[in-house]
Point group: C2
Chain length 360, copies 2
């Protein structure tokens, strides 16, 4: 097989070492005679896998003891409903949720939350995150929801926690496409959630990290299988969890630790992103439309100035083993997703091709 | 590795041929240079996997054209909420759902549905399904829900479709633990659902087969990610589906076709179940408490008359490679789950051990 580099936005590239180990263990995990797929989720073999995955993720993100880590199903998209369904039970009718709108994913979150509460878009800009001082926050909002990396729009940011308005405010962050790529202070958030299929593992696993005082506030119509408190009280086994996906996620967590953890991933992400944006910025042959301060290190959308060359660009890329560079259909153009498992050699190969195609 | 036989109730044994193929293709699916886990769900590679899986399942169960097959997340348990959330939108306040209570799973369904509607338990018995003529059905019920194989209680049955009360009644069947093990007439049902982790594939995939006139009736509070109509309209890709689980399910479907399809699985299931129940019935050393007409071909719970020997029984079984025979904690005793992927040699090995342990 030819060396390929897979720039898919998700499901996305995984570490080769993880896939090789999964292949080797497929028919017989550690002499058990069983595949991980065949294990009872409550048996000692899978419980050891689960506990190691939870422990390693807790270590990687330095998750404080008063936070629960849930391994759920449904994807990041489902959390747009499950977050209000789980957090609004203590609020009277008429609760308001504040949102920061920075792209397609926060837009979806706003729309879905409108089914359960009043929504207030406190700030809105999909190419440059408005100054935090200008956010129009509601005094008694149930919580503030933000998507700190917009996978489609390529906008990444971190809130300024020195903002005195954040005191006692519950922050909910959708970190689906940049979790584990930068050091974060979990204690500043009420809920962090992430679909697995970017930096964690296969599609079908969703991570929820929640401060324990926020459990037990579900609306009566919240399905039991998705009630955070029931999931937490049963160590993610209130119903059968996506066992194989959790196993792969656990292997990714081990790989991350071997590589040096999240700080090392952040160092590499900066280096990869700087390399790629520099090539895009040489002249106006390519364009990235995001304000430099908010450019994502994970998802790099770009446009050819002459869009009639799009098909030729993609065909040439494919011929060089540079795959899945087409942009999301809603915004067009190109997109290179450069998650943790993308080696810098892949970014360098893309940069070489960008220069070659531009005739530099 | 020693030959083992895995009697887990789920996640459960998978065909060795399927696991071997998955291992061989793990790093490079069909020369794509990618693992199936790394593929965009909307790319041509995964779309071909998805379409083949859907087509093969449709063929195996002879699903009529006016039924949609959905590949969802959340597990069978989540459907206890998602079914009422999706079917009650056209009913005025005060809708009633009829249930047949035959064990732990239908009991859970009844409890959960009570969050969304009035529930009527039309019949209740966890060891012998009441005669259908005695079911106390509601004239204008939104639908009738039944679990046609109770995984924990080992009760299996099929409704009598000659019952004139069934005309125009919407039947919802939880077939999680016996789907694809017997020939069914899909056209008699409104909705069939099944968690994958018994006869289909890995945990984390849920199959929903729904008659198309039942789509578009969701309650406003139904999360979009679980709205059957949105899922159907987007070919199960309204949000990112559990791609790797669908791939494994597709391999299982291919295996089933190679083995002779559902009719052949039914023939084997009968043979395996007869062999096992005959050994349990020799004398009163072992007991199965289910009425013979309702004994499950998939899940065979049994008790030692002298329960002080339970630990010795399980230890001896494990020493012979007969794994995961402990009964569910809620009912105790033993349970042998003998799904499609369990060869008759495994059942024979268990029977030999049953006889040996009983001193026959």
């Amino acid at each position: 097989m030819t060396q390929i580099f897979n720039f898919s936005a998700g499901p996305a590239v995984l570490p080769k070492e993880v896939l090789a180990q999964a292949a080797a263990e497929m028919l017989d995990w550690h002499g058990s005679g069983m595949s991980v797929m065949e294990m009872s989720h409550r048996g000692p073999e899978f419980m050891s896998i689960y506990k190691a995955a939870e422990r390693d993720l807790r270590e990687l993100l330095a998750v404080p003891d008063n936070y629960k880590i849930l391994f759920m199903q449904g994807g990041g998209l489902s959390q747009n409903a499950l977050i209000p369904l789980n957090l609004l039970g203590h609020k009277p009718e008429g609760a308001t949720i504040d949102f920061i709108h920075t792209g397609s994913w926060s837009a979806k979150s706003i729309k879905e939350a409108g089914k359960y509460a009043k929504v207030n878009t406190a700030a809105s800009n999909t190419t440059a995150v408005p100054a935090q001082a200008d956010w129009q926050l509601t005094a008694d909002a149930a919580y503030l929801h933000m998507c700190t990396n917009e996978t489609i729009d390529g906008v990444e940011y971190q809130p300024d926690f020195n903002d005195t308005r954040f005191k006692d405010r519950v922050l909910v962050a959708d970190m689906s496409s940049h979790i584990l790529s930068r050091v974060i202070d979990v204690a500043k958030y009420g809920v962090i959630f992430a679909g697995a299929q970017k930096n964690i593992g296969p599609a079908g696993v969703t991570i929820v990290i929640i401060r324990d005082d926020l459990l037990g506030k579900a609306l009566p119509v919240c399905p039991s299988a998705f009630d955070f408190k029931l999931v937490a009280d049963n160590e993610s086994m209130y119903n059968t969890p996506p066992t194989y996906g959790i196993y792969i996620a656990g292997l990714v967590f081990q790989w991350l630790k071997q590589q040096g953890g999240v700080a090392e991933m952040e160092r590499r992400a900066k280096a990869k992103a700087e390399l790629l944006y520099a090539a895009l910025d040489v002249d106006d042959f390519y364009q990235n439309r995001v304000a430099p301060a908010n450019r994502s290190r994970m998802n790099v959308p770009f446009y050819l100035k002459d869009e009639s060359k799009n098909e030729a660009f993609l065909a040439g890329a494919k011929a060089r083993g540079l795959l899945q560079l087409k942009g999301h259909k809603s915004v067009g153009g190109m997109r290179a997703s450069i998650y943790n498992a993308m080696p810098i050699e892949g970014v360098q190969a893309l940069v070489d091709y960008l220069n070659e195609f531009a005739g530099r």
